[in-house]
């Protein structure tokens, strides 16, 4: 059970890492590469300064998941 859980965390982690690489590179960022302004701010600037904290949030969630799993493992060991 716990192995299965650990594996799926690892899979999710790899997926997120790949997505992270895609999201900050060509061609994905090219979507935001234009002359229009959103709220008076260039879209690329807006994209990075919103996407960045979002990615930090994902890391935070991921860390929480590891904590949960290791706590579960500890409990199992205690039993």
């Amino acid at each position: 059970m716990k192995d299965h859980q650990g594996d799926s965390t690892k899979e999710a982690w790899i997926l997120c890492l790949i997505l992270g690489v895609i999201f900050i590179n060509f061609p994905f960022v090219h979507i935001f590469d234009n002359d229009r302004l959103i709220f008076g701010i260039p879209p690329l600037v807006l994209y990075f300064f919103i996407g960045w904290p979002a990615s930090i949030g994902v890391t935070w969630l991921f860390v929480k998941q590891i904590n949960k799993e290791s706590a579960a493992n500890d409990e199992e060991r205690m039993e």
């Binding site: 590179n25 090219h30 590469d33 890391t59």
Partner: protein
């Protein structure tokens, strides 16, 4: 403007504050309440990544190239996401191996290669020292800006450093202060694996100042000078509509390839820059902190970057688009708005950014230089005998100052050049070259030393050629021709368009080529070069570092002529000083979970060797540590060998005083001397009584037959009742109690005795205190060591008893060595006896059967082992008659041989009286039945008598294999069968006696079951049919030739040279 001296005073005050904080942190640590348990400090310290190059430079970059400043921070955010797997593994490995730097890490992974360590160090020095120059420059410039804003005129900026009055060379002062700070917190002690808490806490504080000051300026610019983000962008676009593509990608300035390269470079830099490695790996106090740092560090970089664009744009708006001073917008904006204190805060932020980097880098690089360049040289010089721990620490301090001042001179000599300004990315690229060796080493077992060495060298060669040379050219130190036409006009080798690869910025170009060569060499050599055994072990330790079920890869080995604990301690103190060595060894011994006796078993000695090596590695690096240990052991003649468990329970005390340890040491030397047991025991007792003034010491061993303890050695006063007498085993005496309960019996004052039997003797002899300790081998008592004193009371302290028990343990080893020696001799003796038995047995067989006129006989007996149970014999009788006997005693041991001898004796003794086969068989059976009923052995026999004159053959059989008779004229095989039971089963057996007449050319074959039961590889027997056919084929051969032929065929059949059972063949052929 702020007067120069105030800036200097404030800077010094700031350093004083850092110093106090650092000092406090060190004190907390000594009290055991380490600040590093706080995970915020770890996360903040990692932000040492943000140097002044980013603190000031980000704004400069944003103002000149727009978004290009971002990848430097986005990359680490992405990398931080992998930390739980990669960084944690690095930390785990480094903790296990006492790794102190990235050079150490790479060298350790690849067979502790001293060469690799030196290569990494050299590259780090080349690639990173100039980066220190950049920091010094930033500090010097900002001080000048604060104290003399007028100097900021664009045309003067370049020559700023030179304009500083010679009597206050700001950069020199800064270098000096930072160098001293580095020494104070990086090299007060020698152990670089010991965490530098003060330094780390100071760095964390600096990081805090950096982010606070930057955000403060950001808020001031965004909301003080302007009206929020939107306002800034709006005014900027109004003023500079042509600069709109600053916020675009894929432009000429920032193509996507460059964007990608910068992200990749910074991802590698955050992991592999020596200072990052130091803070993140070496100074890590707890793996769990990594989890928190994974999101806190990116959050930090996000915060510090949030206002970069507003400040850059604000600066551009205020300076009418002048980018020449863009690097210092952070400082000049508040300054020109008259907010001196804010400017001062920013200055402190920038100072922090520089100072942190310079201090940690200098400590890290000087450690690397010390461990990988200086130590190997020192070891080669071999300063014999002296304690050079003091020299080492001073060398390290000198190294820190040296590195900082190397940076300073770099700055003085090349000043404000292209190369210096871009040193940040150039050093990132250098750090990236470490990536294949580190990551490959962590995840790929086959990666080996050669691969890493060649990969690194190629990577750095390409780095030098495609990045450093072009930047030197752009700084104007080299001729431009090399960039435009290639070296000596070879276009293909143009540093910026190597092998014709063009259209890329120089970072992408360099990244591509350097990594391509680096990785290609790394993979190729890993596939084709072989690892040594030690490297394989290291590889396993690295690759499987995170596996909890990791089997211990260390096979059980022991050290021959192992040094004692004291010798290990002495060796360590020579390099690291006495106190740390003692501290280290007691830590080791504490971790051992040693027995209640407070002792350490000999199995632990190889571990102690590893521990010593690891400890030394913490001070001098892995490769030198290995060299030190190897040299040391080889001069002693010790080497690791597979366990032959003689010293299974040798025990050595740790809580003993020097003299006690020396007794222990001498004892172990005596035990290892290989002298006679008696001599060893006598010497040990002499040593004991001389050293501790005992009046009597006795060693008794258990005599198994009488179950008494018998004196084997005795030293001191002699007394019939005391030292020389045997002791019975019972609980009424102290010695009996010690032996039976297997616990040391101590009486420190004989006025309080509870065993009347002992008391009588003890009072008579005037003993004041004594102890008996059991001598045990594998937990079983085999004897008792006793010591008595007439003069002193209370000599047996807890500590002393431990020593006493240790000596008993060593005596046990001497005893066992002696026993093993004797059993070895015994085995040897037995073998000799078997050889004698074999010779005797062979001599019992008829050596040559006489040649006769009318018959020819040959025989052969091949025992399967040294001695066998087969037997054949030839007994001549009158009128040229003779008896032929073939017998088979089951088994091939001494018992079989004895029965065979017995049988022979019986037959020879009775042959004169008993003339007929059946009668002989009858009396043999009687004899066996009467005498051998208790043995499991049985005997079969075929007995024949032949009279060649009348051609008459009479025979009897006792359950023996039927002999084969080849009738030449009738061309027929006959089997000679006669009724009869195996010997010794029943008292009375009727043995049938048959008779045959032989004609000329008839051949008779007698044999034992060894021949027909010979098996081939499929398990099929040779069998009687095959034997009969073979005999038929031998029609024309003589008996001896027939035997040879049969033996050959059987050998071919089984495919073996040797047989599992004894084989006997006797062939008789009737002539004329």
């Amino acid at each position: 403007m702020i007067p120069g001296h105030i800036v200097l005073i404030i800077s010094l005050l700031y350093f004083a504050l850092l110093f106090i904080v650092a000092f406090y942190a060190d004190r907390r640590r000594r009290q055991g309440r380490s600040l590093l348990t706080n995970s915020y400090i770890y996360s903040l310290a990692i932000a040492i990544y943000c140097t002044s190059w980013t603190f000031y430079g980000s704004v400069g970059r944003a103002a000149t190239s727009g978004l290009e400043f971002l990848p430097i921070y986005i990359g680490p955010t992405l990398m931080a996401f992998t930390w739980w797997f990669i960084l944690r593994k690095m930390v785990r490995v480094s903790k296990e191996q006492n790794i102190v730097s990235i050079a150490d890490f790479i060298s350790s992974r690849y067979d502790r290669s001293a060469l690799l360590g030196a290569i990494v160090t050299l590259f780090a020095v080349f690639g990173i020292t100039p980066y220190i120059a950049l920091q010094l420059k930033a500090v010097a410039n900002t001080i000048d800006i604060l104290s003399n804003p007028m100097a900021l005129a664009p045309d003067q900026l370049g020559g700023l450093a030179a304009k500083i009055p010679s009597y206050i060379d700001t950069a020199f002062l800064v270098a000096l202060v930072l160098g001293l700070f580095g020494i104070l917190f990086g090299a007060r002690h020698l152990d670089s694996s010991e965490r530098h808490e003060g330094l780390v806490v100071a760095v964390a504080l600096e990081s805090l100042i950096k982010v606070i000051s930057f955000i403060a300026v950001g808020i001031f610019v965004t909301y003080g000078l302007f009206d929020g983000f939107q306002d800034i962008f709006q005014r900027f676009f109004e003023q500079f509509p042509e600069r709109q593509n600053m916020f675009r990608l894929g432009t000429e300035q920032t193509p996507y390839t460059k964007w990608f390269s910068l992200i990749f470079l910074s991802m590698m830099a955050i992991m592999f820059l020596p200072r990052q490695f130091h803070i993140m790996v070496t100074e890590n106090a707890d793996e769990l902190q990594i989890k928190k740092a994974m999101w806190r560090f990116p959050a930090y970089t996000f915060l510090i970057n949030l206002f970069v664009i507003p400040i850059a744009l604000g600066g551009l708006i205020f300076t009418a688009g002048d980018i020449s001073q863009a690097d210092f917008f952070v400082l000049t904006l508040p300054l020109s708005a008259g907010h001196k204190w804010l400017a001062l805060l920013v200055f402190l932020g920038g100072l922090s950014a520089s100072a942190g980097m310079v201090m940690v880098s200098s400590v890290t690089i000087s450690t690397m230089i010390h461990n990988h360049l200086v130590m190997p040289i020192l070891l080669r010089i071999k300063l014999k005998g002296q304690d050079f721990s003091g020299l080492l620490i001073n060398l390290k301090r000198l190294g820190i100052l040296g590195v900082v001042f190397l940076g300073y001179f770099y700055f003085k000599i090349i000043g404000d050049s292209y190369a210096l300004v871009n040193m940040g990315l150039i050093s990132f690229m250098a750090a990236t070259q470490f990536a294949p060796a580190v990551i490959g080493g962590l995840y790929w077992k086959r990666a080996n030393r050669k691969a890493a060495t060649v990969g690194l060298c190629l990577g750095f060669a390409l780095w030098f050629y495609t990045l450093l040379i072009p930047s030197f050219v752009l700084s104007g130190w080299l001729d431009k021709g090399i960039l435009e036409h290639g070296p000596s006009g070879i276009e293909l080798l143009k540093p910026l368009e190597l092998f014709g690869l063009h259209g890329f910025d120089m970072y992408t170009h360099c990244l591509f080529w350097s990594l391509l060569f680096n990785i290609a060499a790394y993979l190729t050599f890993s596939f084709f070069a072989k690892q040594s055994a030690t490297e394989e072990i290291q590889a396993d330790k690295f690759v499987n570092a995170l596996r909890s079920d990791r089997p211990s890869p260390t096979k059980l080995k022991r050290l021959s002529k192992a040094p004692t604990i004291m010798e290990f301690v002495e060796l360590m103190s020579k390099f690291i000083g006495e106190k740390p060595a003692n501290a280290a060894i007691s830590e080791f011994l504490e971790n051992r979970e040693i027995s209640s006796r407070g002792t350490l078993s000999d199995h632990e000695i190889p571990k102690l060797k590893t521990f010593t090596e690891r400890t030394l590695a913490g001070y001098v690096g892995a490769a030198p540590a290995r060299i030190i240990l190897e040299n040391y052991l080889s001069t002693r003649g010790s080497k690791m060998e597979d366990v032959f468990d003689i010293f299974g329970s040798i025990t050595i005390s740790h809580a003993s005083s020097r003299e006690q340890l020396s007794v222990l040491y001498d004892t172990s030397q005596l035990v290892a001397s290989g002298n006679e047991l008696k001599d060893i025991l006598d010497n040990i007792l002499q040593l004991l009584s001389a050293q501790f003034k005992f009046d009597l010491c006795v060693i008794r061993f258990l005599e198994k037959e009488t179950m008494t303890l018998t004196v084997k050695s005795q030293q001191g006063m002699s007394s019939v009742h005391f030292g020389q007498s045997e002791r019975n085993l019972n609980m009424e005496t102290y010695i009996g109690q010690a032996f039976l309960s297997n616990v040391t019996a101590v009486v420190n004052d004989t006025e309080f005795l509870d065993k009347p039997t002992s008391a009588e003797i003890i009072y008579r002899e005037g003993i004041t205190c004594f102890a008996h300790t059991p001598i045990t081998m594998e937990g079983e008592p085999v004897g008792v060591l006793s010591a008595f004193s007439r003069t002193v009371k209370g000599i047996f302290t807890k500590e002393f008893i431990a020593l006493f028990e240790n000596i008993a343990g060593q005596i046990a080893i001497a005893w066992r060595n002696d026993k093993q020696l004797h059993s070895l001799l015994e085995v040897h003796e037995q073998e000799r006896e078997m050889q004698i038995a074999r010779n005797i047995q062979i001599s019992l067989l008829p050596t040559n059967i006489p040649a006769m006129e009318k018959v020819s006989v040959s025989g052969l007996c091949v025992p399967a082992h040294q001695i066998g149970g087969d037997y054949f014999d030839f007994i001549p009788r009158e009128e040229s008659c003779f008896d032929l006997i073939v017998a088979d005693v089951s088994g091939h041991n001494i018992g079989s041989a004895l029965i065979m001898a017995e049988t022979r004796t019986f037959i020879h003794a009775r042959a004169d009286n008993i003339k007929q086969p059946a009668k002989m068989m009858h009396s043999l059976n009687r004899f066996f039945f009467d005498n051998m009923d208790c043995s499991d052995l049985f005997v079969t026999m075929f007995y024949l008598q032949y009279c060649p004159n009348v051609h008459c053959l009479t025979y009897s059989s006792a359950g023996h294999n039927t002999p084969i008779l080849w009738r030449k004229h009738k061309k027929r095989i006959e089997l000679l069968d006669a009724d009869g039971l195996i010997f010794g089963i029943r008292p009375e057996v009727d043995f049938e006696q048959k008779a045959e007449t032989l004609e000329e050319g008839d051949t008779l074959l007698l044999y034992t079951d060894g021949i027909i039961e010979a098996e081939d590889t499929q398990g099929e027997f040779f069998g009687i049919d095959r034997l009969g056919k073979l005999l038929q084929e031998c029609d024309a051969l003589s008996p001896q030739e027939t035997i040879d032929r049969i033996m050959n065929q059987v050998r071919i059949f089984t495919g073996l040279r040797h047989f599992n059972d004894d084989i006997t063949l006797v062939v008789m052929k009737a002539l004329k």
